[in-house]
Symmetry: C2
Subunit: 389 residues, 2 copies
Amino acid sequence: MTPAAGAATRLFEVETRDPRTRARTGILRLPHGEVKTPVFMPVGTQATVKTVSNRELEEAGAQIILSNTYHLYLRPGENLIREAGGLHKFMGWKRPMLTDSGGFQIFSLSTLTKIRDEGVEFRSHLDGSRHLLKPEDVIRVQLSLGSDVIMPLDECVKHPAETAYIEKSVALTTEWAKRCKLTWARFRDEGTTPGSLLFAIVQGGCVPELRKRSAEELVPLDFPGYAIGGLSVGEPSELMYSTLEATVQHLPEEKPRYLMGVGLPNDLFEAVSRGVDMFDCVVPTRNGRNATVFTPDGKLNLRGASFAKDWRPIDENCPCYACRNHTRAYLRHLFNSEEYLAGRLASLHNITFFIQLLEFMRRAIEENRFSEFRAAFQARYNRPGAQSE
Amino acid sequence: MTPAAGAATRLFEVETRDPRTRARTGILRLPHGEVKTPVFMPVGTQATVKTVSNRELEEAGAQIILSNTYHLYLRPGENLIREAGGLHKFMGWKRPMLTDSGGFQIFSLSTLTKIRDEGVEFRSHLDGSRHLLKPEDVIRVQLSLGSDVIMPLDECVKHPAETAYIEKSVALTTEWAKRCKLTWARFRDEGTTPGSLLFAIVQGGCVPELRKRSAEELVPLDFPGYAIGGLSVGEPSELMYSTLEATVQHLPEEKPRYLMGVGLPNDLFEAVSRGVDMFDCVVPTRNGRNATVFTPDGKLNLRGASFAKDWRPIDENCPCYACRNHTRAYLRHLFNSEEYLAGRLASLHNITFFIQLLEFMRRAIEENRFSEFRAAFQARYNRPGAQSE
């Protein structure tokens, strides 16, 4: 019986709809467990969410994490992880996992990248070695990783870009999605997919007609979920929101939607209110390592002199280990002393903050008070003087 | 009632004596709790045991940790920690704590150090600022930190050194110890010591007569405990052991003995068998961050290619989080990827290993099988081919 065969085993079910926005709650059933949406997925680039342990991720409420195929393909390599029994066993993570296709990193990290119909040729950012990854390869690699959700190879166009270029890129992304789906189906028929679900990725830059075209080309292929790629790549916020609007309306209501690489609290509200269900972003860990922590009152940079004798936790209502046990003054000392524990505690706090924020949104939608929750959160988070970009 | 007033509140009690060596078990009663000896104290130089959390230290069985007065005096500073309510509150550590005097770091880290009868003048290794610390100052600073056990200012002589120099240095260390004790007593009489106990430090290089002299000058001053300083500073192992032997025999049986900055597993057996009760060393964390982990079969460097597909934990009998959840192959990947989690997991394992090793020794002494335990451990740890230096 495939996941879509009966109501009890439906891959994704919308549970509650907000009457005033397109926000919704749902449940996504994956091989390693259920995920309640909307959900924030911490990013574990190299088979580890930087600085934190799996136990801490579980305690922070992480239902699903993301890992990067490009990095793992290069190091430690597909074969080693397959021998380990898949990425879950390799890294000791028991809950669901999503992997990207590697496309984004190929374009942003590697050098001498050449895009052809056949696939992408690039040189490793680690050792300069030359690689060619075809759509078929990225599916095979991700199936070796054994992720719950896998992604097709796509081209993530930079902003700004020529419309003609974006148009060509959308066509290529659709073509690659078809090839990825064929490959995935072949592995499934051979019984060698570990239940991995292949989502599609809608591209189209910030051109509404191309977003529509990309969606309309991909939706008939009946992927179990749809990701929105190519946003948060340098475009202004308002353009991101309007492009998101122009994309989501062409996606099927009954399937999960995943906005890739987004984002900051205000972006998350905008996207949830437009019907997005899944998010990932490196902000909690990257900012955490740089001493920036998120609170309901905006961001704080813990290196600041004002925290030298601040005996409060980062956020007195936060349940994370850092907030239950340590003061801002202590964290400032750790950052100023370049201690490992500094970035670790700040990352853990930020991960908890983002996971909780989506949980709070979910509960507010369920209780028919999403707009009120959003207004109250944003009034405090964005109040004059707060750092909330 | 002072700690020494009655049997029930004795600061230190020897509980079991090994009939074949001078090894012993005991209990040390400190303001923040009891410490069972022999004991290994992880080092938290800058108010954090590098990479690990307090919760992890507790789970690893850490009964007491050490922090460095020199580092904390320079950053974040005595006043800030006093305002925080002491070092325990500042760093959120609830169990006993020992602080060194800062002398060792002044001689090893700071520049332009000048030793005078008055005290030590030096420049900060952080910003070059000029400081003068007198014996009285290091007591005041440590009382601000509120440590359970504090140390007097001493001079730790490098090896090798001229006997005449060591002789002068022993006299200075005795003189400073007297001044420290007077200062400590004054604060105690004012009621401002938070119950901190002042140990003495025996010096004397590797010259048995000078060790004897140092001990004989300090013992009549009736300190509640005696530390052995100036070892593990470059002298050969055998010389360290014979010097230790020549020192311990002049120390009172009924008081705790602390061998500063030692050491590696073989050293720990040598010292415990000579009657030492307390140890601290940076090896578990420093080596851990450099991918070296300790096991009953010797040390492993986890970067090694032989671990690429080693699906075993570091040590299958180790109860630490790293060994219960992760493989050597995964740890190798983390080290090769320069991930924070790598040093963190390896440090946690090593801390657990050293704490457990002393616990195992303690239990073996209690069960009258210390020599057998030692022989079995060392046969395996030092077997040909093992890395056990």
